[in-house]
């Protein structure tokens, strides 16, 4: 390299020499060749310095060597760093990171380092090494630099890396990283991705910004579909959408009013509209002879199970063979299924109508209306609950649920009160509706209210204000907890109070600390339970390893007296670890250990934790573990294992689980309680005839719907004391699952939001983070026409160029735009 007008080029050249000599031969003499060059005084000084460095670089003392090399690089930093090759730049980046930490420790200046960083990042970003650029910037804590360097060609990979790296970063760095990703997406007008991150950050300001930045109405519609899937309450304002008519239409999408229609389109396309009876699910004829001829008299327990199975299986289809058949058929009122349920069973039976007509508010209210006029309190309670279920996830300007249920909150009868309160909790989960708060909060302090009413009120408030950190609600639940007598604290339902409190902080991490501090003053009977519940809710879905360890330590303790806080600790383990695949697998392995060494009350919770980790995702290993536990000598372990089998197979129609459950049904046909659990699990596996999922995760497993998680966690907490709650008279807590029920579909619609059928490839999703080029995103795919079902871990891509999807995440409702460049072949 000949010396140019640039004075630094000499230094560069010398370094070059040093590098070449150093690496292959360790021969320092080569630089002498250039001695005859004319150098200015300054250059000479520099050169001598460099020579000194070179000498030191070969010094046996590694510290000296290192200092020398670093100074050398810094001295000659202005040239094209790429000229030395990638490996060199990579090394350099590593050293800068180290140097940066040292200097941070010493509080020394880092300006010279940052100059280098600038160069390196620019170099990396130009050479398909976005991941390394991001790594370096994360090390030197200056991600903002990235914004200057991303361009059309590399922003996608950059953001992809950022979002997936965020899962493994400790707070608050993860938020920072996602902020950057959001800004990059906005910069390149990739609004759907930006929206996704905004939702992940739960930052409504960002969500709004997405709407204001985008001018295309059709794309905004797509945003609305995404928001509606996330299950949050969101008001559009004129700033976001100017036109009133448009806004109303978009708000309708956010309000999920078309969900029922879309779901039924899917059902018709897959041809599963025909209603199924519980017997179709039990398939007793496959058990030849065993328990086939049922008992002559109606068993209330088994009929109740059939009610739930019927509700889950026909959920959302609007028709079934037990509840919606006209009662004036030949069999008369005796044929009315409702009355084949006993006392509180009638509540669940009436409410099951809500499940069958899920999301179809108009038809649902029509069907439920007649039960409002009943003189039987459990039936009224069921009708109230049913209204709540029908409205789950659907918002309506008229607020029918609030209008109908509101006046029943303060009725005399506890069961009616619970029906109304629970219905409100389900219908308005996540809405943070002040009007409901003002009517529910007084219930918590109502001296006349029984414990169960108070418990459900706390729970409903927790659901409505899920993840809101609302101080006032927290206060009223805390007071209610403090008011409980010693005896009441021992009741099974009391657990809903701490749970309601925990839900307020769902996923909100540190925000829980003040409340957790207060909980330390509680009666010792509930203190630890509360502690565990708050901790696990606050860190749910964060994958925070430290919290996982905390919780594991709790599970490892061997307690002497009947403390119950280990149950929520085990569940908490799953809640925290469920967010990403690696942590999830680790949690499954840890739970296997816990199972072997833990005490009985820990063992009982383990199947439930497994059920949460793999919800609607039947992993074979977990399935085997649960199958083994379903024959456990401890009947409570067996019960939770059976329910969990239902959870992991929920909505999948998984044949293997169905077979296992069928065998369990004949194995346990004499044990009414266990058989009930088996039936529930069977209902779950065939939920929505296989069109639904319970997974709270969506959008390629990035987003966690808070209301969905709240619903599942509530059920699991109830399952910790199966005998007193689900097998007792509060079986309707099973309906909390409705919060997590979503069609696992991809439905394509045209620009007028009418369904259109296009070919898509559906296959196992491949992790493409950090891969160069345009890697395949799915493997082992099959081509179908939309609408299609997506199983856990599957991804779809369009198999035609005729249309362009308005969101890169092909899940739920996808608007397709015609491709202007498409040419028929």
């Amino acid at each position: 390299m000949a010396p140019g007008p640039d004075p630094n080029s000499v230094g560069d050249g010398a370094k070059r020499d040093e590098a070449t000599t150093k690496v292959p031969s360790k021969e320092p003499k080569k630089k002498d060749d250039k001695k005859e060059e004319d150098l200015s005084e300054e250059d000479l000084q520099l050169k001598q310095n460099l020579e000194l460095y070179v000498e030191r670089a070969q010094d046996p003392n590694p510290e000296l060597q290192k200092a020398a090399l670093e100074s050398m690089r810094l001295t000659g930093s202005e040239g094209d760093i790429g000229s030395w090759g990638h490996e060199y730049v990579r090394n350099l980046a590593g050293e800068i990171a180290e140097e940066y930490t040292v200097r941070q420790g010493e509080e020394a200046s880092i300006e010279d380092l940052m100059d280098l960083v600038q160069q390196i990042v620019a170099f990396h970003m130009k050479h398909n090494a976005e991941t390394e650029a991001v790594d370096l910037l994360m090390d030197v804590e200056d991600l903002d630099l990235l914004l200057e360097h991303v361009d059309r060609t590399n922003f996608w990979r950059t953001c992809n890396y950022l979002t997936s790296a965020a899962k493994y970063l400790p707070g608050p760095d993860d938020m920072l990283v996602l902020d950057i990703a959001y800004m990059i997406y906005i910069k390149f007008e990739e609004y759907p991705n930006a929206l996704q991150i905004a939702l992940f950050l739960d930052n409504m300001q960002y969500v709004k910004q997405v709407f204001t930045s985008c001018t295309d109405l059709l794309r905004k519609k797509q945003f609305c579909y995404m928001i509606s899937r996330h299950g949050i309450t969101f008001e559009l304002d004129p700033e976001m959408v100017e036109n009133d008519v448009d806004r109303e239409m978009l708000q309708d999408i956010v309000n999920n009013t078309k969900l029922s229609e879309g779901y039924l389109t899917l059902a018709r396309d897959i041809e599963v509209m025909e209603a199924k009876t519980p017997e179709d699910i039990y398939k007793a004829h496959l058990l030849d002879g065993r328990a086939s001829s049922g008992p002559s008299a109606d068993s209330a327990r088994q009929n109740l199970a059939a009610t739930f199975v019927n509700a889950f299986v026909n959920a959302g289809f609007g028709q079934d063979k037990l509840m919606t058949v006209p009662s004036d058929s030949t069999s008369g009122s005796a044929g009315n299924w409702l009355f084949k349920n006993k006392e509180h069973g009638k509540t669940s039976a009436a409410a099951s109508l809500g499940m069958i007509l899920l999301w179809d508010v108009d038809a649902g209210l029509t069907h439920l209306d007649k039960y409002f006029h009943s003189n039987d309190n459990p039936i009224i309670a069921g009708a109230l609950l049913g209204v709540g279920i029908v409205n789950c996830g659907i918002k309506n300007d008229c607020d029918p649920a609030l209008a109908l249920l509101g006046e029943y909150i303060d009725k005399e009868d506890s069961s009616v009160r619970i029906g109304a309160i629970m219905g409100l909790g389900i219908a308005y989960a996540g809405s943070q509706n002040d009007q409901i708060r003002s009517s529910l909060s007084p219930v918590l302090n109502d001296a006349k209210a029984s414990l169960d009413v108070i418990a459900f009120a706390a729970l409903s408030l927790g659901m409505i204000y899920v993840g809101s950190c609302n101080e006032e609600v927290a206060q009223s639940i805390i007071f209610a907890l403090m008011d409980r007598s010693e005896a009441e604290l021992g009741e099974a339902l009391t657990r809903f109070l701490p749970l309601g409190l925990g839900l307020l902080y769902l996923g909100k991490q540190e925000s829980v600390e003040a409340t957790a501090e207060v909980s330390k003053t509680f009666n010792e009977k509930i203190r630890k339970y509360c502690d565990m519940t708050l901790l696990s809710c606050a860190y749910a879905g964060t994958g925070n390893v430290l919290k996982v360890q905390d919780l594991l330590a709790q599970c490892g303790e061997h307690l002497e007296k009947g403390d119950i806080h280990q149950g929520p600790a085990v569940l908490g383990l799953a809640m925290v670890a469920m967010s990403e695949e690696l942590g999830l697998d680790m949690a499954i392995r840890s739970l296997e250990r816990v199972l072997q060494y833990g005490e009985q009350n820990v063992r009982r919770a383990v199947p439930l934790a497994l059920g949460l980790l793999c919800i609607s995702n039947p992993k074979v290993t977990v399935m085997d573990t649960l199958s083994r536990l379903s024959h456990d000598t401890d009947s409570e372990v067996a019960m939770s294992a059976i329910v969990s089998l239902g959870l992991i197979g929920a909505g999948t129609n998984n044949a293997r689980i169905a077979g296992m459950l069928r065998n369990l049904s004949s194995y346990y046909y004499k044990d009414a309680s266990l058989l009930f659990c088996v039936r529930i699990a069977q209902g779950l596996v065939h939920m929505g005839k296989g069109l639904l999922t319970l997974s709270p995760f969506h959008s390629e497993r990035l987003l966690l719907s808070p209301t969905a998680l709240a619903g599942i966690v509530t059920l699991l907490h109830a399952c910790l004391d199966m005998k007193s709650i689900i097998l007792g008279k509060y079986h309707y807590v099973l309906y909390f699952l409705v919060l997590a029920m979503q069609p696992r579909m991809m439905l394509t619609v045209d620009e007028n939001l009418k369904p259109i059928s296009v070919p898509v490839r559906v296959g196992q999703a491949v992790d493409v983070v950090g891969q160069a080029g345009r890697p395949k995103t799915i493997t082992g795919f099959q081509t179908h026409s939309t609408p299609v079902l997506l199983a856990a871990g599957e991804r779809a891509e369009l198999a035609t160029d005729k249309y362009i999807p308005l969101s890169p995440i092909l899940e739920g409702f996808i608007i397709l735009k015609e491709n202007p460049d498409y040419r028929e072949e």
């Binding site: 001829s293 109606d298 209330a300 009355f339 038809a363 309506n396 008229c398």
Partner: protein, 481 residues
């Protein structure tokens, strides 16, 4: 005046005018005209609640052009059925038991599985149960001794307990009486009661019952047990040396299935068991000679008991050894060719009828009509023969054809199996497998009844160390003519 639209079910009624000076009840009456829903059933959602009949429009804040939602139907209000539904959970314990579809198990009192399985097998005979329930102290004939009477009563009580209970019954009383009557069952070994041969228990118990259940008139024919289980054999005893031939009849409670190397199937074993050699003094030869005895069945029981002769006395080991050979048995047994000539004749017509019925079920009736013409010809003769004989036959067979018009067919269905697991009769474990009226098979392993599959029942045929059939019982299949 306001104009609003009202959404009801899936319909929207546009442009309904509200006169704000009149109470909302008037508005509801307007809607009644449109929807047919009576005002008191109408629920109209306004902001934050329902529209009250006497509310003030101005305070509700309904705006012009607003969309209201109405809920309500004119449907009939649901009423509870007049006859309350009875749930299984509400029933008293004994009714719950019948709901299960099978009765309770028996507690093992210490090596009493032989007795438990015997009781369970015999209990499956409803006729025996009803005969027992008719038994009373007053009716007993004098020749029944005290212990037999006690055993009979104990059996009746035990059967009753089993039917009533949901949980396993402890047969303490029965066992005490059984040991009193048959002291051999009280044998002790290491201070424990020994395991006994179930066949012995079965035979002794049946014998006792047959004695005590004889009607006071004490005529042979009214012996209930014999009518149920008794098999009349007509044997031809033939001496090859002298050519002497005699015939004799006897009545047994069970057929023996002899197991030799040639026997692979129950049928072969039965045939084998009906042939035998015996030595007796021949009047013609004036010395003992070998006689060949060939027996044929002369009358059929309602319940045919077959004992597999699996145990024999092994002199070397001084114990009852067991033959493990696999002997298959069918779920449906046809013993036609073991019957005597006369009996066969009697069976022909009912058998044909049965075949026809079965053919009909399978949809073959038309095909057989012409082809089996010659068979029918012989049938035509048979009835005349039959009618003359049937009256006498009915008396001979006792209860077998007491119901007018039902006839034996020589075809039997398996109803219970008593199995043994282990290598000798005095050890191992006895289990009863009983078919219920519902068609379900229940395995009674002492106190644990469990449902079994029918195809597993025929797998108890031996040939390994699994439970193998020791005593099996078939029920006659009748056909009504």
């Amino acid at each position: 005046m306001l104009t609003v639209s009202v959404k009801w079910q899936k319909k929207v009624f546009e442009g309904i005018e509200i006169d704000v000076s009149l109470p909302p009840y008037v508005f509801k009456a307007q809607l009644y005209d449109l929807t047919g829903v009576p005002p008191e059933r109408q629920k109209i959602m306004v902001k934050g609640g329902l529209l009250k009949d006497d509310a003030d429009w101005s305070s509700i804040g309904v705006k012009d052009g607003q969309k209201l939602m109405m809920m309500g139907t004119a449907d009939e209000i649901v009423k509870a059925p007049e006859k309350a539904i009875v749930f299984a959970e509400d029933l008293p314990e004994e009714e719950q038991a019948t709901n299960l579809g099978y009765s309770a198990g028996l507690v093992n009192l210490g090596n009493t599985c032989y007795m438990n399985s015997t009781v369970q097998c015999l209990k499956s005979v409803p006729e025996l149960k009803s005969a027992l329930s008719n038994y009373s102290l007053a009716g007993r004939s004098n020749d029944v001794d005290q212990t037999s009477h006690m055993l009979t009563v104990a059996t009746r009580e035990l059967f009753g307990d089993l039917d009533r209970s949901v949980n396993a019954v402890s047969p303490t009383q029965f066992w005490m009486v059984l040991r009193k009557k048959f002291p051999q069952f009280s044998q002790l070994q290491n201070g424990m009661h020994m395991q006994q041969d179930a066949e012995e228990c079965w035979t002794q118990l049946l014998y006792t019952l047959s004695q005590s259940l004889k009607a006071p008139t004490s005529s042979e024919d009214s012996d209930a047990v014999k009518a149920l289980f008794g098999v009349n054999l007509r044997s031809r005893v033939h001496c090859q040396e002298s050519g002497e031939e005699s015939s004799e009849t006897e009545s047994v409670y069970s057929l023996k299935c002899h197991i030799s190397h040639e026997v692979n199937h129950l049928h072969e074993g039965l045939k084998h068991g009906l042939k035998g050699e015996l030595e007796k003094t021949s009047p013609a030869l004036g010395r003992t000679a070998v006689y060949l005895k060939e027996s044929l069945i002369d009358s059929l029981p309602r319940y045919l008991t077959v004992q597999f002769v699996r145990f024999f006395w092994k002199r070397e080991t001084n114990q009852k050894a067991k033959i493990l050979r696999k002997v298959d048995y069918p779920l449906e047994l046809d013993i036609y060719d073991l019957c005597s000539e006369e009996l066969r004749k009697k069976l022909e017509a009912p058998r044909q009828k049965l075949r026809d019925e079965e053919g009909k079920k399978l949809g073959l009736q038309t095909k057989s009509s012409s082809k089996d013409g010659d068979v029918k010809m012989t049938d035509a003769e048979a009835p005349s023969n039959e009618s003359g004989e049937s009256s006498t036959a009915a008396q001979q067979e006792g209860a077998s054809s007491s119901e007018k018009g039902t006839h034996m067919t020589g075809i039997y269905d398996l109803v219970s199996v008593l199995t043994h697991k282990g290598r000798s009769a005095d050890s191992g474990h006895y289990v009863a497998w009983v078919k219920q009226e519902s068609g379900k098979w229940i395995q009674y392993d002492d106190s644990y009844p469990s449902v079994q599959r029918e195809e597993d029942i025929t797998k108890l045929s031996g040939g390994g160390d699994w439970h193998m059939a020791y005593i099996i019982m078939y029920k006659a299949r009748f056909v009504s003519m």
